[in-house]
Amino acid sequence: KSSVQTIGEEQIQNPYTELLVLKGHQDIVRFLVQIDDCRFASAGDDGIIFLWNAQTGEKLLELHGHTHKITAIAPFSSSDASEERNHLILTASADRTVIVWDCTSGRQVQKVSCFHSTVKCLTVLQRLDVWLSGGSDLCVWNRKLDLLCKTSHLTDAGISALVELPKNCVAATVGKELVIFRLIASDDGSEGWNVLEVKRLVDHQDNILSLVSVNDLTFVTGSHVGELIVWDALDWTKQACECDFWDSSVPPDVQPEIKLSQSPNETSVQHLTSDEECVFAAVGKGIYVYNLQMKRVIACQRTAHDSSVLHIEKLPNRQLISCSEDGSVRIWELREKQQLPAEPVPTGFFNMWGFGRANRQANQAAKKMQDNTPMYFLELVGDLIGHSSAVQMFLYFGELGLATCSADHLIILWKDGERESRLRSLTLFQKLAQNGNLQLKF
């Protein structure tokens, strides 16, 4: 049954009452990355990078250089506080190059084209002032784009995600495996680094699709078949593993290893995000909130969208935004249930996911636990409809609004109409004062 929650046309809590359509891209826009307080870059399959003003929607720069689609983008700000902040962005493309751009001038600072395969991910380690590129191998570069070191060829599939861990470590996802690398300062050179494969974790049953660092102690991975594993960032041990992580009654160290009967697309963990307490997972069409302390799912929306959720993000105000292939963006609020719910959230899942060996007792225990722990639910507070195709990603700019990018080649800037109106008034009176037309009016 289709049980996608709808909200209707009256959305009191939805602040976005104004939109700006930013046109420029000629193909799917896949990446949005924030450069500073009011600028962001967009990139996609047309190989062009655009820089936009998040306030006015003005197109600032158009960066041409790649011949194929962009596969990864990362901001690379100079850590040097003394000199003026120099904003750079790194872009990797299917043309097997990585280009460093200057965001102020739009100049191409440098171009690296010695890759054997497409670079699929880029990570900047600010602390060490180096950046890593992950493809079929892992390379470490310094600011001047000198190749410091690289690993041997890993697999043809290559590294799909990288995340920085404490103690100069990085976690890379290579297919089903999670590989931990450590950067070691080389003995000979002052600046050189060596990269060393430390550990290879093979706990996932399927390709790892998402990787997110929660805090210095924890990071989380999610796989195509719906496994979610919480790792200790220091010793790389599993803290919790949820193949069906909604079943919080199962103790973390007893991994049920349940095969899911659903089609993998329905259960793949597309994207993960987290705050200090919870991990938010976009699983299939649904959104799940996993509490790290309680080690269980505290709230979920099984069918949050009409099709796969591609990106989710937690806002500071207990709100959650999700975007999906169905072209919509939805705003959720995590609320505490006041009255005891007639039906606890997780139970529905057993049916839906078709557990092979649903443990009734465990289930009851879970129910008991839920009784004395606060219950949460995700309430839809607004939806943004504008794109005509899958919304790939969005970027939350706080007060400035929300930028969404989509396969319909557009970027839409959603804004708070009230605020914009006020700002325009402010500008208006400033301009009036400037023109000297204001003397008599005060």
């Binding site: 046309e9 009256e10 359509v21 929607g57 208006l428 301009k431 005060f442």
Partner: protein, 935 residues
């Protein structure tokens, strides 16, 4: 859109409202009794029984040296237009007041004939018997074969409405000057060509003669010359002389435009309104003929392969030869340009004066609303140049100089004489011949000196005092003479140069009265001479220019009394002058070319004895000036009757069948001004579009208004639909048939506010699925409903974006849109409205929208409504203040607030938009539920 329906005259609509015809006729007893003289083709408002022509037209006449004054052509070129009006007679009249001295010949002290570049003269005259009043523009063209090389012509705008001519004098003058300039430019070109041909002929003749002489010389060796040889030699000599003369003429004609251009303020004719193609061609032509360009001589020199002819020693007598036609006199390109221009003038000024005036006033007012006028006004309307500008361009530089001088010398605001003043200055002064006037030069000078002080205040452009008349049928109501120092008759030129600064001027004035006919010259307005310095320097005949310069410097530009034989009249005139001065200081006329000039100082406005000071406390006063000038100076009945002078025998109106006359009455019922409506319908068969470029727009307005009326009557849910448009929510008209959808879109388009200074955000017909970008761009869309799979996509997109749009289904007659509970729209679109005419309804809408705009303006530009007074003030209190203002001060209820807020946003966006960069179109929307309305 300023124009409220009660002020504006109604224009006739060609497609007579179909609904009107279908309505049952009023019972006989309720109908307004017809005017008793209706059968005679009169209407109760007509002052005279009617003129003999049906509508305004332009007449071009020539004073032919062979047959005298003769009409050449009329515009529009339609025999019906002039009707029984005697063009020959009228040509005689208008040509007889041509007093521009067009002297060409051998001036004393000059060896060769000189061409004079004579300025046009502009005269208003009336023939009360004929019921015709005319603005007459005299000009001379050059013709090598004509006597003195000149052919006097005149163009006259003839109307039955005296006041229209007077009110529109400046505009007429400016427009006709353009046409004249164009014609003269073409004529100079043709003349130069002609001269060149003639020179080639002469050259050829010389060669032939020379050869013959040589042969003769050789043939006879007797040592003495035969009479034949002497004849030949004489002939040769005369050919030589002729060559030199013609070369000199050519030099003169070529040098003309160069001098003109040296005056910074001179604007050569630019055919602004010529259609696109012509424009391009014209641009080339103008640049090519631009004499300042080095290529200029090349142009004139370039004559496509001309075979020279032998010129007989004795040229044909003047009555044998056929004079060139006007067309032959002028370069064909410029000739057609001139005709275009004249047609345009005709289109511009046709119709009722009231309409023209209202249009001008509203245009001027709109110009002042620079902040809000983009919202509901046509872009083209705002882009048009004000007529004043053109006028100034034509008047040239010295006017400005004098104005400046004037404002320096007198702190008083510029005082202009109202029409009333013209009237009061009707004066009967017998016309004297020149000799007498020359006699009277001395006293004149002294008198004018005594008047000097006042005059330099008052006679900026209206020299009313030159009231010379002999009171019969022709009245020259006002003339504007572009004074030229070259306008001197032979006799004058032979006179010793007068030491008096007025001498030259008085001669000019005197020449105006040459006609022995009965002429009343009510006023003359010499404007400035466009005399280039080099011209003065190079031609001894221009020696009288000196006094002119003095003249202007002294602020004395006019001689008050020209020919005063008896003291009575002298007194009369001086009384007149006083009267005029009083008039002019209390009444702000419309004659000033400086409509939009800020007043020098409001604090120092002149208070005359009456205490009638009409100076509104605004820096720009055009509107008030216009009103005062046209209505203030007149008793009101005059103003009205003016419109009826041009009454036409339109049987469809008062004398027609009962039904039709009923419907015409009915038509006017909705108006508050039946009279003005009737006036407009009577005065012209054609509608009176103010500006020719706007004819299409005018028609569109009418059509849109008509369709909108139909819409609000047919659809009970018109209000929420209109609310959607006004609040910026895109309205989609969905339907299968394109015509129906387009009609609805046209109807509704009058409610759509512009988002900037582009075209209206209206898309009449779309067949592809809509996207969010479309809602950003378009606020009113006609959408095709199709049964095909593509159509399903269209509908799917529509339901997907339903939150941004209201959907009006033209097929099933439903509307899906948010609720509207305000009061504003019901005033805008009352389905019980008595308005029946499209244009009237359009104006009604415009006036309400103007009110709305002013509210939005107020709301937008009140600082405290948007920003906190002090820094600590919380946002909530600002919001409260804002809502209170909207509700209490502006009296807006419910959804009306959203309309004003939306307009305010548009105003803000427009105002803060940087000139260089285009504004990012943004889409604002509300999350409000929609409802489905059904019939």
């Amino acid at each position: 859109m300023i124009s409220a329906p009660d002020v504006v005259a109604f224009t006739r609509e060609e497609e007579l409202e179909d609904e009107l015809c279908s309505e049952p006729p009023l019972p006989e007893e309720y109908s307004v009794p017809l005017f008793p003289f209706a059968s005679h083709g009169a209407n109760p408002w007509a002052k005279v029984a009617g003129s003999k022509f049906t509508r305004d037209f332009i007449l071009i006449s020539e004073f032919s040296e062979q047959v005298g004054p003769q009409p050449l052509l009329t515009i529009p070129d339609d025999a019906k237009v002039s009707g029984t009006f005697d063009l020959n007679y009228f040509s005689l009249r208008i040509m007889s007041v041509d007093y521009q001295a067009s002297f060409v010949g051998h001036p004393p002290g000059s060896a060769y004939p000189k061409l004079n570049f004579v300025e046009d003269s502009k005269v208003v005259l009336g023939d009360s018997k004929e019921g015709a009043f005319a603005y007459v523009h005299h000009l001379t063209l050059y013709d090598l074969e004509a006597r003195g090389f000149v052919r006097p012509f005149c163009m006259a705008y003839i109307s039955a409405d005296e006041h229209k001519i007077m009110q529109q004098f400046q505009e007429l003058s400016a427009e006709f000057s353009k046409a004249s300039e164009c014609l003269k430019t073409g004529n100079r070109k043709a003349f130069a060509n002609e001269l060149e041909k003639k020179l080639k002929d002469l050259d050829y003749t010389r060669t032939v003669l020379h050869n013959e002489t040589e042969i003769q010389k050789k043939a006879n060796d007797k040592g003495y010359y035969t009479t034949q040889a002497i004849e030949k030699a004489n002939e040769l000599a005369s050919v030589e002389k002729s060559i030199i003369e013609h070369q000199d003429l050519l030099k003169q004609i070529r040098s003309y435009p160069y001098r003109k251009l040296k005056e910074s303020d001179f604007h050569p004719y630019e055919p602004e309104c010529a259609p696109g193609q012509a424009n391009a061609g014209c641009g080339q032509d103008l640049t090519a003929s631009d004499p300042a360009e080095p290529g200029e001589t090349h142009l004139y020199a370039h004559v496509p392969s001309y075979t020279p002819k032998l010129i007989k020693a004795k040229s044909a007598k003047c009555f044998d030869k056929k004079l060139k036609t006007l067309e032959e006199l002028c370069d064909i390109y410029f000739f057609t340009q001139t005709l275009d221009q004249l047609h345009q003038i005709e289109r511009t000024f046709r119709g009722d004066a009231c309409y023209l005036l209202t249009d001008q006033i509203s245009r001027a007012l709109l110009k002042q609303q620079s902040v809000t006028n983009f919202l509901f006004e046509d872009v083209s309307f705002l882009d048009e140049k004000p007529p004043e500008k053109q006028y100034r361009g034509c008047r040239g530089l010295s006017q400005d100089a004098v104005d400046r001088k004037c404002s320096e010398e007198s702190p008083a605001p510029k005082v202009v004489i109202s029409l009333g003043a013209y009237k009061s200055s009707v004066e009967c002064v017998p016309i004297k011949m020149e000799q007498e006037m020359e006699d009277s030069q001395e006293p004149k000078m002294t008198e004018s000196v005594t008047f000097e002080h006042q005059e330099n205040l008052d006679y900026l452009d209206a020299d009313i005092k030159g009231s010379i008349s002999s009171g019969e049928s022709i009245e020259v109501l006002g003339t504007e003479k572009s004074a030229s120092g070259l306008t001197k008759s032979e006799s004058q030129a032979s006179l010793p140069v007068s030491p008096s600064p007025q001498a030259g001027r008085s001669k000019v004035g005197s020449r105006r009265t040459v006609s022995e006919d009965s002429i009343e010259v009510l006023s003359t307005c010499p404007s400035e001479s466009l005399i280039p310095e080099d011209f003065k320097a190079s031609y001894p005949s221009a020696i009288n220019e000196e006094p002119y310069a003095d003249d202007e410097e002294g602020g004395l530009r006019f001689t008050p009394k020209l020919n005063l034989d008896n003291a009575d009249e002298q007194e009369d005139v001086s009384k007149q002058e006083n009267l005029v001065q009083v008039d002019s200081s209390c009444c702000i006329g419309k004659e000033s070319p400086n409509f939009l000039e800020p007043l020098p100082d409001l604090g120092q406005k002149p208070c005359d004895e009456d205490g009638v000071v009409r100076i509104p406390p605004q820096p720009y006063r055009q509107a008030e000036q216009g009103l005062c000038g046209s209505f203030g100076g007149f008793p009101s009945h005059d103003g009205i009757s003016g419109g009826f002078l041009s009454y036409e025998l339109d049987s469809r109106y008062l004398t027609g069948s009962r039904e039709v006359s009923k419907s015409s009455l009915d038509e006017c019922l909705d108006s508050t001004s039946y009279i003005s409506s009737a006036a407009s319908t009577c005065s012209d068969r054609t509608p009176s579009p103010a500006h020719p470029a706007c004819q299409a727009r005018e028609r569109h307005k009418k059509k849109a208004g008509q369709n909108a009326l139909r819409f609000i009557r047919q659809y009970p849910f018109a209000h929420p639909a209109i609310y959607s448009l006004l609040s910026g929510r895109t309205l989609i008209v969905l339907g299968e048939e394109e015509a129906i959808v387009k009609k609805l879109v046209t109807a509704l388009s009058i409610f759509v506010p512009n988002c900037g200074v582009y075209a209206k955000p209206v898309k009449h017909w779309v067949t592809s699925p809509l996207h969010v970008v479309d809602f950003q761009k378009w606020k009113l869309i006609g959408l095709q409903r199709m049964a095909s799979p593509a159509g399903v996509n269209v509908l799917h997109a529509l339901s997907r974006y339903s939150r941004y749009v209201s959907v009006l289904d033209a097929d099933s007659k439903t509307l899906r849109c948010p609720l509207y509970k305000g009061t504003l729209v019901s005033r805008l679109a009352d389905h019980r409205t008595q308005i029946k005419r499209g244009s009237t309804y359009y104006m009604h809408v415009q006036s309400i929208l103007t009110q709305l705009c002013s509210k939005a303006f107020l709301f937008t530009f009140c600082h405290h409504l948007h920003l906190p007074i002090s820094e600590r003030e919380p946002e909530e209190s600002v919001v409260n203040r804002r809502m209170n203002f909207l509700k209490l001060q502006l009296g807006l209820a419910n959804e009306d607030i959203k309309i004003v807020q939306y307009l305010a946003e548009l105003l803000k966006l427009q105002y803060i938009q940087e000139p260089g960069q285009g504004v990012n179109p943004l889409l604002r929307f509300d999350y409000v539920p929609s409802f489905l309305y059904k019939i």
